[in-house]
């Protein structure tokens, strides 16, 4: 038996340490890129303009993050909301439908969703946003259903029998116990969104995909590399952030 919190949390602490390291490395990369012209000129001597300068890299990161954050926030609200609704008695008739939709929807590649949204919404930020939200809902909704199903029935029964309201049982028992599974779904969704947001530059949204797309069109491998480095770094930092969050949510399991 061990109730000492300091000993019970090595996993959280090491996750936080990795997150800090990755974030610092990403910050360094972002700060160094504008001054990296000599490096890329040396790497790609045949290129006339080896450093992407149409946008400021920091602006691109912020635009990319903004697109991902806004779409993921919407996807979380809708996905978790729908997952909760169909696992309540009042929404159980839509359960099958939600399961089918999330399973089928995920067989669609995100690029296809993006391509389909252009004729409906047009070019720019909004089709990208719409496609990211739609695609992002699926893993979140799926994991919310699975997470809520996985909470121990005895705990729900006891909560109800002790006089908790349906809302109490949901917010105090079911959601906290399902949180690791739900957050795992959000993590998948956000990771996919970070990469899809890069492709979103093809439909006219500004993101870290912009140097990649422009580089591909203009045969400028240096631009592609610069965009790719930043997207990868960003995805890594965000993913480590989720890892720390998951460790925090499951703290009670250790010790």
């Amino acid at each position: 038996m061990n109730a000492d919190p300091a000993k019970a949390e090595p996993q959280l602490q090491s996750a936080l340490r990795r997150l800090c390291l990755a974030a610092a490395a990403f910050g360094l990369l972002l700060a160094a890129l504008p001054f990296s012209r000599p490096v890329f000129a040396w790497l790609f001597p045949q290129l006339e303009r080896p450093l992407y300068q149409q946008h400021d890299f920091l602006d691109l990161v912020l635009a990319h993050l903004g697109l991902v954050a806004a779409s993921s926030a919407c996807a979380v609200v809708i996905g978790v909301g729908a997952g909760i609704y169909v696992t309540r008695p009042s929404g159980s008739e839509f359960r099958k439908l939600a399961e089918t939709l999330t399973a089928m929807g995920q067989t669609f590649p995100p690029v296809a969703v993006l391509a389909l949204s252009v004729p409906v919404i047009g070019f720019g930020f909004w089709p990208a946003f719409g496609a990211l939200v739609l695609y992002g809902i699926l893993p979140i909704c799926e994991n919310t259903m699975a997470g809520l199903d996985g909470t121990p029935q005895a705990a729900r029964q006891a909560g109800e029998g002790l006089g908790m309201s349906g809302r109490d049982v949901l917010t105090k028992i079911e959601l906290p116990l399902a949180a690791p599974v739900i957050v795992a779904g959000i993590r998948t969704s956000v990771t996919i969104n970070i990469s899809t947001a890069a492709i979103a530059s093809t439909v006219g949204a500004v993101s870290l995909g912009s140097p990649i797309i422009i580089g591909l069109n203009g045969n400028n491998t240096a631009y592609v590399l610069q965009g790719a480095l930043l997207v990868t770094g960003l995805a890594l930092v965000v993913d480590l952030g989720f890892e720390a969050l998951m460790a925090r949510l499951q703290r009670w399991k250790r010790g």
Partner: protein, 308 residues
Amino acid sequence: MISFRSITKSYDGLTVIRNLDLEIAKGEFCVLIGASGSGKSTILKMINRLVEHTSGEIRFAGAEIRSFRPEIIRRRMGYAIQSVGLFPHWTIEDNIATVPRLLGWDEARIDGRIGELLTLLDMDAARFRKAYPHQLSGGQQQRIGVARALAADPDVLLMDEPFGALDPITRDGLQTEIRRIHAETGKTIVFVTHDMDEALKLATRVVVLDKGEIVQAATPRDLLNAPANAFVRDFLGKDDYGLKLLLVERVGDHMRRGEISNGCGTISETDNLRNALSRLVTLKGDRLSVIDRAGQATGTLHLVDMVS
């Protein structure tokens, strides 16, 4: 305290409880016993409205239970179940504090109450308060389950086969514990089991159920001495019927008070004669020294007196 009047419960036309009348008095330890499908658990769950009755009237503290909101009535009744259902992500103290927090007690009062309950259930507060349920054994978890049920000092304690999943030794310990708690607090307890020994050991009244109807409701002694029909007789068992008779007799009622013996085994005054007999057989003796709760010798129990 609780009365069932002409209660019927059906699920989709299938009647599981038929025209049931039952009066549970304040301070009673009422054990509902029957085979699976006898409706014992349904009856228990109708009291705190986890199951709604189809027709008839259930009154609690003078009012029809449907005049209360389900949450309100449940907070006034402790509830313990076989699967315990501790909240795995909450510490032991938070688990115990569930109902007091729902009732809005202030934290100082809750804190004091947690200490009291851990002491009542013989759990080391320093060791368990901040622990999580998965760090406890099954028996310890059920002790916390009982503490949680008692936390807000409810009028009634509802227990649905609470010791059914425990090993015999742990179960025996908890049965002794709950008897003592009943004696000390005078709470009204409604307890469901399918184990006749458990029923006879705990109950002030045993209610035997079959197919949703009451076959017999009597004190353990009356049940043993005058079973209503063949069904009850079968339920009481044939081979160990005599041992069940010993189970409902207290050592204190058969001892020779004041006669102090040395050099033999000891038994508690409040223990039952079956345990006394078991001890005598083990020790190959014909008498036991009887002690009170403080461990003081108060008399002697002779083998010959146990059957008279």
